[in-house]
């Protein structure tokens, strides 16, 4: 995010194609990656940490980064595509849970300049979209100038470490890949605490009267998303409709998770999230 460093006079680069972008990134080493919506990420060369951060790169003029493609198995979303454009182009093809998360992340006039790459990189608004992308098994396709022919895929949850975005100098997210899957149940809800917006997203598929896939995630402002694979796996192969007693049992297990692991949530938020989990199970 923009901070006290703003007083530094940056030299701006606005490349027009992917090769030019990767070449500029490779040459700059330490730079600030800027997005349309005031969000930015500082990529620092850890091998030479004393290099002054004086160069800024804006990838918004690269047409390849603003494309949405749909193949047989997956959606390929360019990180610089604007959210409103994505919602227009992908209204009928994108998973409903992602559409809901994208719609909720900002008002429509802000969505005209907000890019999906910017949303993922910005810690304050990352939560809603990030949680949805996580349960959809989205992967980021990363490329660099030195390995231009070697693009590698990283699961979206592994893009971040404690100190921020885990991209090496010269690396760039070229696409966001979302595997195409049809889910029978989509659930999205959010709760506002004093300063934070916490999102609960869930999807599930059924096959011959049993749950075949069940995923849910809690997106927390600025922090990593919370996923409980133990509960998710436990719900798989559960016969439908789920009896109330079993729903109560799983809800209790979900509630215990907060007292054991995630104590930072206020009691009000905890109770709301438990209710959301209960509602999600009741919808199955």
């Amino acid at each position: 995010m923009l901070n006290g460093n703003d007083k530094i006079k940056f030299i701006y680069y606005t490349p027009d194609n992917v090769t030019g972008l990767l070449k500029t990134m490779n040459a700059c080493r330490s730079y600030r990656l800027c997005f349309d919506d005031l969000n930015s990420v500082d990529i620092i060369d850890r091998t030479a940490p004393d290099t002054p951060l004086a160069k800024a790169i804006y990838p918004g003029y690269v047409p390849e980064l603003s494309a949405l493609k749909r193949s047989e198995r997956l959606f390929e979303i360019g990180p610089e595509i604007k959210i409103n454009e994505l919602l227009k182009k992908g209204a009928t093809v994108l998973p409903p849970i992602l559409i809901r998360a994208l719609t909720e992340c900002a008002p429509p006039n802000v969505r005209n300049i907000l890019s999906i790459g910017g949303v993922i990189c910005a810690p304050k608004i990352r939560n809603s979209v990030f949680a949805a992308l996580s349960i959809l098994n989205a992967k980021a396709e990363i490329s660099s100038y030195t390995t231009a022919n070697l693009r590698f895929l990283v699961p979206i949850q592994q893009l971040f470490k404690e100190d921020g975005l885990d991209l090496k100098p010269g690396e760039m997210i070229i696409k966001i890949r979302i595997p195409y899957e049809d889910y029978d149940v989509d659930y999205y809800n959010e709760i506002q605490d004093k300063k934070t917006v916490i999102t609960f997203v869930g999807t599930a598929s059924t096959f011959r009267g049993t749950i075949s896939v069940c995923k849910f995630a809690i997106g927390n402002w600025g922090d990593d998303i919370i996923r409980e694979t133990e509960i998710e796996n436990g719900l798989v192969e559960q016969k439908l409709p789920i009896p109330e007693k079993i729903i109560e049992g799983w809800t209790e297990k979900f509630a215990n998770m907060f007292t054991e692991k995630y104590t930072s949530f206020s009691p009000y938020v905890q109770k709301s999230l438990i209710n959301m989990f209960n509602e999600f199970l009741s919808r199955l």
Binding site: F10, D36, L38, Y58, P107, N109, V110, N112, I113
Partner: protein, 161 residues
Amino acid sequence: MIIRFMLNNMKKNLDADPADKLSDVLRDDFGLQSVNSCCNTGRCGGCTVLKDNLPVPACMVRMFSVRNSSILTYEYISTTKEFETITNVLEAMGCNFCDFCKHGKLITIYSLIMNSVPLTEKEIYEALSGNICNCTDFQTLAGAIRLAVNSIKRGKRAERK
């Protein structure tokens, strides 16, 4: 850095710092007083301008992303025929905006009517959710916007005949 862009349908070459906010440039360098940046986070909608015919908060747009794009402000939009029709209908329906939100809301309504017709109440509500001021009753406003759409359509039909 010299930035070339269209401002109110006129070509401009501006030597500006790429990190400057569009709202500051429009007010300070071009004297366009309709751009009121109040919150600087894109929540209030006071600094709304049309960038490539889409409403955006100018306080969230940096100059480096303005290159080769078209910016329209309230000063230009208020001279168009459609805008006159819209304001006439809004006034007749009793929708008088306060000075805080007037420019932003009128630009949003103008772009909404020009870009997407017909409009549902949900679409109108969503489009105006970027302007936080509640000085006008929403139901009256939604009705007035629908009326304005109809009168613009009628005007276009009459022109063709």
